[in-house]
């Protein structure tokens, strides 16, 4: 399904940092059967963990332990793990606000991800970002972003910096289907194509932006084809199959490493509402049933059992392990302290600056002089 223009799929260069992560293992051992098998079961383990983590987060939201907006990756687990496996630790990731799963799979401590949701000081963004704004420099996850499309120019600029410095790294930038209608998407793809930037744009097509279907919002509903306006290579892949996503993401990453941008469209499902507070009434019963049938956890588990890679017993054990880790994360998060109010003015500017306002809402600009006592009876 590749649109094919200028697709020069170079073999991936060996990573500069060959650590023992799944990503690197997968990249170099893909040819051997046992490695492929291990990869599949690892994918499944990660997918189950995202699922149980998100369910735990949804529960915490109803308990008012999490506030604000909270968007879950339910139904997108296969897409998330397949994509993340194609990245090296030295690559960069930019995402939107639906990013808990990415943070977890990128290797950020689940306790710190949950603590961020709870707004606590041990959170990845110290409680300042919340669900929509996870950031971890060490794991090179340069943010979830709450403004639709906001991450796309930033990711493009990160790719510019990589190209500028001539280092062997790439950027991956994920977004939703609805986001391909924002001007910044088109402006950024054009820039990346003109300047040959090492970036993979990923459209997670769950067919909905809130309640609006792709058909209603995009004049070219086959979203990967939008790349052809910029003569950019592109591909669409089944997002229910983590292995297919991984392989497609590897091709895309290889293109980026060779110095060309790529647009990858991943077809997924959104199993629940847009955010945890959306009951999703606009979807008919038939459509919801169809969505549940296309639950990647169910389909991939069935595949693993059918092909003899996992037994039902092992599947249960994987699930139990995920539940206990998600529970532990919630326990950790609840025990973590809230940021101290004295830190309110710590992050307005990177360096101290004269006359920065450190005034709380009730404070006057200048302390009023006390009224002379003898006149107080006027």
């Amino acid at each position: 399904m590749s649109t094919g223009q200028r697709t020069t799929v170079a073999p991936p260069k060996p990573g500069a940092h060959q650590t023992n992560t799944l990503a690197v293992a997968a990249e170099h051992l893909a040819s051997t059967d046992t490695a492929a098998e291990k990869r599949s079961t690892d994918f499944y383990r990660q997918m189950v963990f995202i699922r149980r983590f998100e369910e735990r987060a949804a529960r915490a939201y109803t308990q008012a332990l999490i506030g604000g907006y909270c968007h879950l990756n339910l139904g997108e687990e296969a897409a998330v793990v397949g994509l993340m496996a194609a990245l090296r630790p030295t690559d960069y990731l930019f995402t939107n606000y639906r990013e808990h799963g990415y943070a977890l799979t990128r290797g950020i401590d689940p306790n710190r991800v949950m603590a961020e949701l709870f707004g606590r000081s041990d959170g990845v963004s110290k409680g300042w970002g919340g669900s929509m704004h996870m950031f971890d420099l060490e794991k090179r996850m340069l943010g979830g972003y709450g403004i639709v499309g906001g991450q796309i120019p930033l990711a493009t600029g990160a790719a510019l910096a990589i190209d500028y410095r001539g280092v062997d790294e790439i950027v991956m930038c994920t977004m939703g289907d609805g986001t391909t209608n924002i001007g910044a998407f088109h402006e950024s793809l054009n820039i990346a194509a003109l300047w040959d930037l090492p970036i993979v744009y990923v459209v997670i097509n769950n067919r909905l932006g809130m309640a609006t279907t792709v058909d209603k919002s995009s004049a070219e509903p086959e979203l990967y084809k939008r790349a052809s306006s910029y003569r950019m290579a592109a591909e669409r892949v089944d997002g229910l199959d983590p292995v297919a996503v991984f392989e497609a993401a590897q091709r895309a990453a290889a293109t980026a490493r060779s110095g060309k941008p790529f647009l990858l469209e991943v077809m997924t499902e959104r199993l629940r509402g847009h955010s945890v507070v959306d009951p999703g009434k606009y979807r008919g019963a038939e459509e919801i049933a169809l969505t549940q049938e296309r639950d990647p956890l169910v389909t991939f588990a069935a595949h693993l059992v059918d092909t003899g890679l996992l037994t039902e017993h092992e599947i249960t054990a994987i699930n139990d392990d995920a539940v206990s880790r998600a529970t532990a994360a919630a326990v950790f998060a609840e025990a973590s302290p809230f940021p101290d109010v004295s830190t309110l003015f710590d992050y307005t500017y990177a360096t101290p600056v004269a006359n920065d306002s450190h005034r709380l809402p009730g404070q006057p600009l200048f302390e009023p002089a006390p009224f002379p006592e003898q006149e107080a009876t006027r």
Binding site: G119, W128, I147, F338, L344, P361, P364
Partner: protein
């Protein structure tokens, strides 16, 4: 008169205006099938159909600009921008085009457009989703900026906005949507550019708009009980044009003023009000004009930090008491103050 919520008043007014004038139509993200992010347009897609209730792609700059263009041909689009934060993506079309077309072309084309959008904070939405940036629009000649605080004003000011021939930014507020009040049954548009004295008093003038006008009314009532204070409350209602006369007249009478706002202090709406008082009532002032506004930080997500950054009722009360202390006026009930 009927009692209804701010949300209901907006909904009913949009409906009745669409029945009255076939040139009025709605555009915005999720306003149809989803009933609107905050349910202002609930049921209207069914009632009026896709031609007049248009769900848009996520393209604030594109659809807001398109509404401006449609307005140039005489239609009366009412655009919903999901929250005022996302209006930043349409800033160019609003500021460089909607506000300029009438003047730049020597009065040949009008832009009868309404942009409805809620401000608000305090819902842990974080730095990019908790801003109150109506100032950006109130700063621009050619724009009209309305900010009703009651259901009755939501109705009369929406009527005025839709029937007006200039671009109007119509500021709503997330925490006002569920507030209730009396709403007249007749369709009488408000006069744009007029503030309202919503409570008469003589001790001090308390000035707010949108949610803060609501807070002001509450504080005035509370302090009437606890401090025996007679507070005059002004609801600005219109941020541009600004009714300076009403503000100055009140301060000439009370000799003191506190301004409360949900935006940032430095260069905020309150700064313009304070300058107005300085110009128009300098000789009448007994105390410096006080402002209560948000702490000047990117809004943190974490609840205790967010709470600290937002102006509270206590902050307002504290500012009023400090101001009256500074002029040495009695403000406590008999016997309570030594």
């Amino acid at each position: 008169m009927s009692i209804m919520t701010y949300r209901q008043a907006l909904h009913d007014t949009l409906r009745s205006e669409m029945h009255r004038d076939p040139d009025v139509f709605l555009m915005g993200e999720e306003i149809g099938l989803f009933d609107g992010a905050y349910k202002i347009t609930a049921g209207m897609l069914d009632e009026f159909g896709e031609k007049r209730v248009r769900d848009t792609a996520i393209a604030e700059e594109g659809f807001t600009g398109a509404a401006i263009g449609a307005a140039m041909l005489g239609l009366r689009p009412v655009v919903e921008i999901m929250t005022i934060n996302f209006s930043l993506l349409a800033l160019d079309q609003i500021v460089n085009h909607a506000a300029k077309i009438y003047g730049m072309f020597g009065g040949q084309a009008r832009v009868p457009l309404v942009i409805r959008t809620p401000g608000g904070g305090g819902q842990q939405l974080g730095a990019t989703h908790s801003q109150n940036i109506e100032l950006f629009y109130a700063f621009v000649p050619g724009m009209k900026v309305l900010a009703p605080s009651t259901p009755a004003d939501a109705k009369s000011m929406m009527l005025a906005a839709i029937r007006d021939d200039d671009p109007v930014l119509f500021l709503e507020n997330l925490s006002l949507y569920n507030t209730k009040g009396e709403v007249p049954d007749d369709d009488i548009p408000a006069e744009i550019g007029k503030a309202a004295v919503t409570r008469r008093g003589s001790d001090i003038t308390l000035i707010g708009y949108s949610r803060m006008a609501y807070v002001a009314a509450q504080v005035a009532e509370q302090l009437a009980e606890s401090d025996w204070l007679d507070i005059e409350v002004i609801d600005l209602r219109s941020l541009r044009p600004l009714d300076r006369e009403t503000i100055v007249e009140s301060v000439k009478k009370t000799h003191a003023a506190v301004i409360i706002e949900d935006d940032w202090l430095t260069y905020g709406i309150g700064a313009e009000i304070a300058a107005t008082i300085s110009d128009g009532a300098f000789d009448y002032l007994d105390a410096p004009v006080r402002r209560v506004a948000m702490a000047e930080v990117p809004m943190p997500y974490s609840k205790p930090l967010e709470t600290a950054a937002l102006p509270s009722t206590d902050d307002v009360i504290h500012a009023i008491r400090q101001t009256l202390d500074a002029v040495g006026r009695r403000r406590y009930p008999m016997g309570e103050k030594s």
